[in-house]
Amino acid sequence: MIAVRNFTFSYPQAREPALKDIDWVIPDGQFVLVAGPSGSGKSTLLRSLNGLIPHFSGGSLSGNITVDDVDTVLAGPRLLSRIVGFVAQDPEAQAVLDQVEGEIAFALENAAISPTEMRVRVEETLDLLGLTPLRSRSLSTLSGGERQRLAIAAALALRPHILVLDEPTSQLDPQSAEDVLRALVRLNEDLGLTIVLAEHRLERIARYADRLTWLEDGRIVADGPVRTVLAQINAGPPIVQLGRALGWQPLPLTVKEGKSFAEDIPVPQTLEVETSAVPGPPLLEVNGLRFAYNGQQTLRDIDLSIGAGEAVALVGRNGAGKSTLLKCIVGLLRPQSGDIQVSGQSVRNRPVADICRDVGYLPQNPDDLLFAETVIDELRVTLQNHHLPESSADLDSLLRRLKLTGVDASYPRDLSVGQRQRVALGAVTVTRPRLLLLDEPTRGLDAATKASLVAVWRDWLAEGAAILLVTHDVELVAMIADRTIMLSGGEIIAAGTTRDVLTSSPHFAPQIARLFPNSGWITPADVLKHIQP
């Protein structure tokens, strides 16, 4: 049992406490979701359950936390590691050793468990997480999802009966995330492990959890059964948003639960075809593109065209060739045949820097871009790279658009994830490119941050920019993309309006499309517009 009593905590040199007066009791065997906007104190709360706070971070606190009647502050993380297993966010920064079995055994070696006992425990942990086939693999050959399951296995090796996970799926694609979450559900149901999980993909996990604790600004704002809490707060997957808007009781958490309510809503017989603005002249044209890497065809006969003011989404499984296509467009990879034209000019034989003056490419990890001392310098560097003049009025207006005005003199690395993402966006768009390529721009972001980014993109689209968006997030696609292209094995297997493409594939269909098949609706807003015109 975990008992948090009147717990307040401040990081060293912080003006405000990160956690304020937390009272929280978790009985054994419960599956608890901890959610809330980024910066609300989720990570801090989870880290105080195994003594990392304050033993690892420093800081001052009052109140107390006991886990199985052990005081976390007095005991410290080493002792608690046998009671509480901990898994952090980044799958790439949790491996100590280079080999799967060895990594699981690391904790056991430190605890000086006897070799025979250790064999048994490593075996059982490998089995629990389905890692047996990977047992002798080197870590650098594992995918993100496999690594994250390995991190869970390593945390479980000491046989703790509480498992604490801090957004373990935020860096993963949906399929891997699903695997990880399913493993957690099994651990909870079969072994009765207490699980405390911070997560923002509520749609996948909400129905399995016993309880949702919603944090805002370092306080618990709502706490209780998932359904009850979701009814009180302004968040959740599309089906919950719709259910809340239409006052469905009890609030549906899954498409299945929503079906009975959906039957009462008449679906239009004829699809209303929205005449979206006719796209302007094409900003990007790709014809007959082929690319092979190490003799393996990764892109085959790609044709696509994006006009001004248009947003196109590129979806598909991992390894389908999405990122390869983006890299071909900016010239980082040179295709074997086919032609790519940006603003009517072929990119062949043009250096990367030259192409990128016309194309803003936001790479998957925004931190890869950031190195300057201040946010404003980060923008200036790009201008200097292109030998462009800088005007402070332009820079100011860009910062204002990106909602970075107050932090222009801060060190970029100290900002929040969402802010860093916006700084990186600023750094690649300061040359005012008309074509934007976005690679997984919302990975690991919470709903609010996502919404603010979408608002910025909409502004740009309205001004005649074009966006090519690579993402796994179908709800994001439904929100912003006019057209969607589906890639598989390096080939385009479906292309058309977002509505058509997403509703035709059950795998990629958003929740609302699955709830109302053949309706053409893909977002809660579509439904609401129909019944409340």
């Binding site: 990392l52 080493r78 920064a93 050793l97 430190n110 250790m118 650098s140 945390a155 190195f371 690649v428």
Partner: protein, 344 residues
């Protein structure tokens, strides 16, 4: 068929020591041959792609050392030709003996290299890291972490380089690498913080500093002083210097043992020491046998000097036979694989 890294370490030590101790070209050639043969027999098939261009380096070393000694040492009776004595250092007679001497020095270095190269190729990286003594457990862990994160860092390096390239960055000067190196470093340090958090959460060590117990420290420093003293004694010509040095080394080993007791730690599936490993170790130690003051070996034949006049190097058959002990790994592999073939 693989052998324990510790057995290989003994093999390497003896091979290297022999290569240093003998200056007789016949023995050196034998050692060189044995080490190449063992590498050929025992190297894993999927040995990592990049290899030291051994023969090219060897040739360079031999040519350089021959020429260098010929130009610098003007002793020996067989003068090949002469340079004007007014030239500093190189001036004087250039002799055949000096050339041969230089060649032999080079050959010794090449043989030594050959043993190390065989060791590098045969023993996998993680087993090499596993050789860290237990008293140096922390450093061994640091090494393992570093090895784990090198491929990761390479990957990250490429990613950051691409990311900077697409914002128009051009890598035209050294300073231009700043936007790659700095994010790489910061990302690394951030990762280090996350990693250490994970380690603590998995019950890694204490967060307090471990003090070296005074006794172990005393032993170590005494050992070091003794070793130093022994070496000085040797330089002055006292044979007992060896003994003093060995005592010094033993003291340090003892200190290590003492320290290793402080670390409560077990190992997952430690590699078991097998009969074959014993054979390899014994085979290697056999080679040291002629060094002991036992009768029946012509120990003087180990040393060979072309000065003052070049002669034929002596060769003691029994010492040569003993050297074959270093070929034990190749022998075992040969017997083993023929056994596998026969049975299949």
């Amino acid at each position: 068929m693989t052998f324990d890294a510790r057995a290989w370490l003994i093999w390497l030590f003896v091979g290297g020591l022999m290569a240093i101790l003998t200056s007789n070209p016949l023995y050196l050639a034998l050692l060189l041959f044995i080490s190449r043969m063992v590498e050929g027999a025992c190297a894993p098939i999927d040995a990592n792609g990049w290899r030291l261009p051994f023969w090219r380096i060897s040739l360079a070393v031999l040519v350089f050392s021959t020429l260098f000694n010929m130009l610098m040492a003007h002793v020996g009776h067989t003068t090949l030709f002469s340079l004007p004595t007014s030239w500093p250092l190189v001036g004087g007679p250039l002799t055949l003996e000096a050339a041969v001497y230089g060649f032999l020095s080079g050959l010794r270095l090449v043989t030594l290299l050959s043993f190390f190269l065989a060791f590098n190729t045969i023993v996998p990286t993680h087993e090499m890291a596993g050789l860290t003594p237990r008293a140096l457990h922390e450093l061994g862990l640091i090494m393992l972490i570093a090895i784990t994160y090198v491929p990761e860092t390479m990957h990250q390096f490429r990613r950051i380089r691409d990311a900077q390239a697409i914002r128009g960055h051009q890598f035209d000067s050294l300073r231009a690498w700043r936007p790659v190196i700095i994010p790489l470093l910061i990302a690394g340090l951030e990762r280090a913080l996350n990693l250490s958090e994970t380690m603590v959460a998995r019950g890694y060590g204490s967060t307090t500093q471990v003090k070296t117990p005074p006794r172990a420290r005393l032993l170590m420093f005494a050992g070091l002083l003794l070793a130093l003293g022994g070496a000085i004694r040797l330089a002055w010509g006292g044979v007992d210097g060896w003994l003093i040095m060995v005592i010094g080394m033993l003291a340090i080993v003892l200190a290590y043992r003492e320290l290793s007791r402080l670390f409560v730690h077990t190992r997952y599936r430690p590699r078991r020491w097998m009969l074959f490993d014993t054979l390899i170790a014994l085979g290697a130690l056999l080679v040291m046998f002629p060094l002991l003051p036992v009768p029946g070996f012509d120990r003087l034949s180990l040393a060979f000097s072309p000065y003052p006049e070049l002669g034929l190097p002596p060769f003691d058959l029994w010492i040569g036979v003993m050297f074959l002990g270093l070929a034990m790994p190749a022998l075992i592999v040969a017997i083993y694989s023929s056994g596998v073939e026969a049975s299949s």
